[in-house]
Symmetry: C3
Subunit: 301 residues, 3 copies
């Protein structure tokens, strides 16, 4: 059976824990190529990003290369897409070219699930629509696990444009699986409807002193011209800064999926603050993606 | 002597047969990297595509990597071309950078032949102008050979914009070498003058029941605005569909170089029909290109 | 201590000589992969070019691959830059992704020096602003050294838009270190102020018979619309051509960093003239960059 990586929700807790442990192994051995460089030797993956991304694309590329695999970057805008080819036909073509797996990002929320039954090779969801970004979810879980040694019972605030955030989407899925509590903060119009007992809306300044981690989200100013979001006013109301950091627990951590807007959702001095794990998350991302690529090839989890 | 791969016509039949057999070896061993991954170790090729292409570029890239070689993708639009550099100087620069071969596509029909005498490294024609696409020709021959165990005497219909098709161009060259018979079908204004006894024009529905294979070509609607081509009317007159498939011999096959427009030159249900070899062609393309890359490096054929 | 490669001026003469000798070793062994392909095995570099470049980017990519390393190409325009990410955050992200070194080009003269103290991984300056292009400087030194067996006392004319040329900038730095004499020629408005005793302005036709080498620079016609530079008139006054070549010493050589405009700063017949080393320079560029990549990883120099 083909092993895809499409959503955290398709894995039982035990499988995700195994993946987190495997990612931790890769994290610990990131400077020991002799232990890992043979694992996916001769494999070739395709990066197929219908939406641009630096970090995620490069993160998968580096993960593949660290495992001895190689990657071809398919850039839709330079391609047959211009000639009217459907996404299905593009993926089927890559399958026919013999790649071992496809790392896929698309603006459509459901296109991966819809296409998956018709493809004979494993797919990795590298971000779909507004709801899912499961490899980011896995790296966030790894980061929390490294910090607290457990996931159950952790309290995590998510602040910003939650409604349009794939990162928040995958974190909410994980909360249900692992019994974490998520608090959604930010402008009321940018928060989604809540239907899960593990998720609730909260006032940012009220909840902040109680949480183990806070995930700051980028405000996509270009998307919200109608909201008349003034960066300074936004920062005052919902930004992470020194004043708010002081209100947090001493062992609580600050997360951000990047890229971030300094001075908007996070102040300059918080990005590399001792409680911030933002660049650690990026480092963990490669380890998490190594675990994912190994999983889809070897079914190891 | 440098071994180029510029046109099928520059090879005698016996050399092409050797190439087809070698490609078949790569096809059969596509899941046995230990048999092939060392063959072009440490070689570096350059993909130089002045016209965009997903499949062909990726196909060569995967072929190179399967053989243990690597590839650099030169994208003219991001480059010195903007600064007025000539094609010759660009290729000479890549030669000076020490690449082992150049995979080249350009809109100009004759530029490869013109430049080849002045370069000291092997060139692969990955599509030139309107007439030649010899690596596609080789994969089509491989596909026919796998199906019928021979090429001589095969009857192949080609339907669509034959006049502007490199794929048809290389197939007509192959017909002469191997003694196949080609039937050109489609709108009269899109058919070329016929001067070769192995090629003749034919009515699509009349010839279809007699052929071993039919090669459907993409109608480049964007090129033919003046023709007032209505997709539905075109499909009715020249498209492959269930009705026409029923008229074909039971062991005849449907080919298409891709990308295809579903509902125009081919109906949805024909793309993956049991008589279609469209995705098989793409799979064969990697094997054919492995044989080509090995040829230009080792002179093996 | 991290070993960067940011400017020729940060190395003592002895270190640069070691680098030139190491580059010469790579030049001599460019067809002996078994001697060099293991040297940077499992390393991954990132090409981060905020300004487009074919030759330099490909040159570093091929250098890395010849040493057994791999490279990820970060293309800022397809990336988070669009989302407002700062250069520092982009580089810090790549550092977090675990790349072993960053090859960097940016229009800002000082950005590399400013960012370097805050990064924990080695940086290679692949062209910054108007003043520095030290890997080009190294390959030019290698080319001169191969020709004359020494650098001290060599006389080099540089002709063209010297003021905006990084290539000239790095050559002037090298002149001071190695005791070469540089003569600046070209339109008065395109020459910089001279403050160094190793550099002086000169009349092109007067100085040409006395120099060991002449470095022709591309006139960036697109930049100088105000100058009303007529290509023919420019060529007559400052272009390299048969008449001027005849005035040069028999063992003097013609250099050009490329890309070049045939018929403007250099005539067609001079590009591959027996006294020209233009394509040799490109070949040397890969060897020089191999020495640089090895230096930043192993501190070898």
């Amino acid at each position: 059976m083909i092993k895809h990586f499409l959503s955290l929700s398709s894995f039982p807790q035990s499988d995700l824990l195994s993946l987190i442990h495997r990612a931790q192994f890769f994290f610990q051995n990131q400077h020991s190529p002799e232990k890992i460089h043979h694992l996916l030797k001769n494999r070739i993956f395709a990066n197929v990003f219908y939406e641009p991304s630096t970090r995620t694309r490069c993160s998968f590329e580096i993960a593949a290369k660290r495992l001895g695999a190689d990657i071809v970057n398919f850039v839709p805008e330079h391609s047959s897409v211009k000639k009217g080819e459907t996404v299905y036909d593009t993926l089927k073509s890559l399958e026919s070219l013999g790649v071992d797996g496809i790392i896929f990002r698309h603006a459509d929320d459901h296109i991966v699930e819809q296409l998956q039954p018709f493809l004979k090779l494993p797919l990795v969801n590298a971000g779909a629509g507004k709801f899912e970004h499961p490899s980011q979810g896995l790296l966030d879980l790894l980061t929390l696990f490294q910090e607290f040694g457990k996931l159950e019972g952790l309290k995590v605030a998510v602040c910003g444009d939650v409604k349009h955030s794939r990162v928040a989407g995958s974190l909410m899925v994980a909360a249900k699986i692992f019994g974490m509590q998520i608090y959604l903060c930010g402008p009321e119009t940018l928060l989604p409807e809540v239907t899960d007992s593990h998720v609730q809306k909260a006032d940012f300044d009220t909840i902040l002193p109680t949480v183990d981690a806070v995930m700051m989200l980028r405000i996509q100013l270009e998307r919200h011209e109608d909201l008349d979001l003034d960066p300074k006013a936004y920062h005052h109301q919902f930004g992470m800064n020194h004043r708010r950091q002081l209100s947090m627990k001493k062992n609580a951590i600050i997360l951000h999926p990047g890229p971030f807007n300094r001075g908007v959702e996070i102040s300059d001095d918080m990005v590399e603050h001792s409680q911030s794990r933002i660049f650690k998350q990026m480092n963990n991302g490669v380890a998490a993606r190594m675990a994912i690529l190994e999983l889809i090839i070897n079914g190891r989890s």
